[in-house]
Symmetry: C2
Subunit: 284 residues, 2 copies
Amino acid sequence: MNPSQKTGQMEMAQPAWTVGGACHHRGMMMDSTFLPAAPLAEAEREGLYRAILTRRDTRGEFLPDDVPDEIVSRILVAAHHAPSVGFMQPWSFVIVRNPEVRRRVHDAFVTAHAEAALMFPEDKRDFYSALKLEGIMEAPLNICVTCDRNRAGPVVIGRTHIRTMDMFSSVCAVQNLWLAARAEGLGVGWVSIFDNATVQAALNIPKGIVPIAYLCVGKVKGYHRRPELEAAGWRPRLPLDELLHFDQWDGPEPEEALTRLVREDQRSVNQGTFVGALAQSLRQ
Amino acid sequence: MNPSQKTGQMEMAQPAWTVGGACHHRGMMMDSTFLPAAPLAEAEREGLYRAILTRRDTRGEFLPDDVPDEIVSRILVAAHHAPSVGFMQPWSFVIVRNPEVRRRVHDAFVTAHAEAALMFPEDKRDFYSALKLEGIMEAPLNICVTCDRNRAGPVVIGRTHIRTMDMFSSVCAVQNLWLAARAEGLGVGWVSIFDNATVQAALNIPKGIVPIAYLCVGKVKGYHRRPELEAAGWRPRLPLDELLHFDQWDGPEPEEALTRLVREDQRSVNQGTFVGALAQSLRQ
């Protein structure tokens, strides 16, 4: 029996958001504040995996069509419900449509892109220079996701020892936005080839607030079946089973069963059958 | 006409994954390498949003039950299909079950947690100390997600100017894993209160490879309806419409239509009706 069929044990008289103020650590928690620990329904679970597996970094495939505000709103809501350290919610979103502002960001890209080409060994330079790596001017919409490092005061729960946790929270917001955009049929491209200070100046972002991701967003003519750099032979998809360690980096022998499953799952992803195989196994 | 509309007129007999080596930048792309730019089906889209909106940081609700390898494999596959700068795939995954290794990580937490308490103003110290902030020993499974900063050589496409992009890629992998775990009915808690060097030593992680996230993973007795720190009154959910800027940080007046939609969507999230309202609007 699938555990999802056993859920929803409790009836609640009041919605959870009327329960406030109490400290909900262990021993003080009330069951009525809980959603059941059930997997999502089969089709919903498939949707999550399909979004993850078909999400792409979009550069050259943007269409000029307007993105409906309803969809922009939903992808922003998805971003806003990312995890954040100490519930800091350090993100803001600069919605950039103005062509003049975008031109300044594009100029920063052009400068950095030329600098970057010279960093590659000579035999790779032409390949690099020919790549289409951004859609700043073509995408109808740019969104800069930022991190306000002072949003919750100097001491933040969970950021006391690892200072970058707030920036990582903003990255989680980016990934939520990206997956929601995929689910909505949009493409997103993350542009990172520029001097961040130039982008900060172009968007008038105050000191203490860091641009984390500059995203090009829009309708697209399609999603590449495989990541472009993989399809172009630049780098292969790494074998996931070789990226696993057990207990410690140089730990004991790999767990056989898990390693085999990971290989099989990766194979079915490569063959485009992962989501279908998932549905089949959930029905068994 | 957008230049992207002029590309890729070519028919191909072979499936996309048999096409290798060619450079797929603009002007050379073939349409048959594309998946259609359609939104996901209604139920699948609902699944993505439901996973995002009900994902929680789990600390005190782990059950001791084993997590089936089939599910561990799928959440790792989800992580492995995160975006990565220059297709670097800088992540590895240390699957920690050994209680002795976990005890050392837990010790690092206990030390740092005591240090952290002293950083808070006196009137907040008791609240902080009483919070349950990790489930290292109770969760059946810990997973450390790392970032190998040298995995693709010294020069990486897209990391030439913003050096942290590789760590951000590993964070995207964390968020994928977290959402997949939610879809599968698991809980995940990200523990960040320790000295990273101590964790690096406990897991024997070599120099040049950075622990990005130490995750507690397992079945749970439920998901909190609201984030615990929100429910406890520590910090409220910030109004998303106040986190939007237009064109520049101090840009023109907010776009009225989008601002209104964001407010309405946030209200329906708070009322637990967002996913249902989405379905209704998609059917119209």
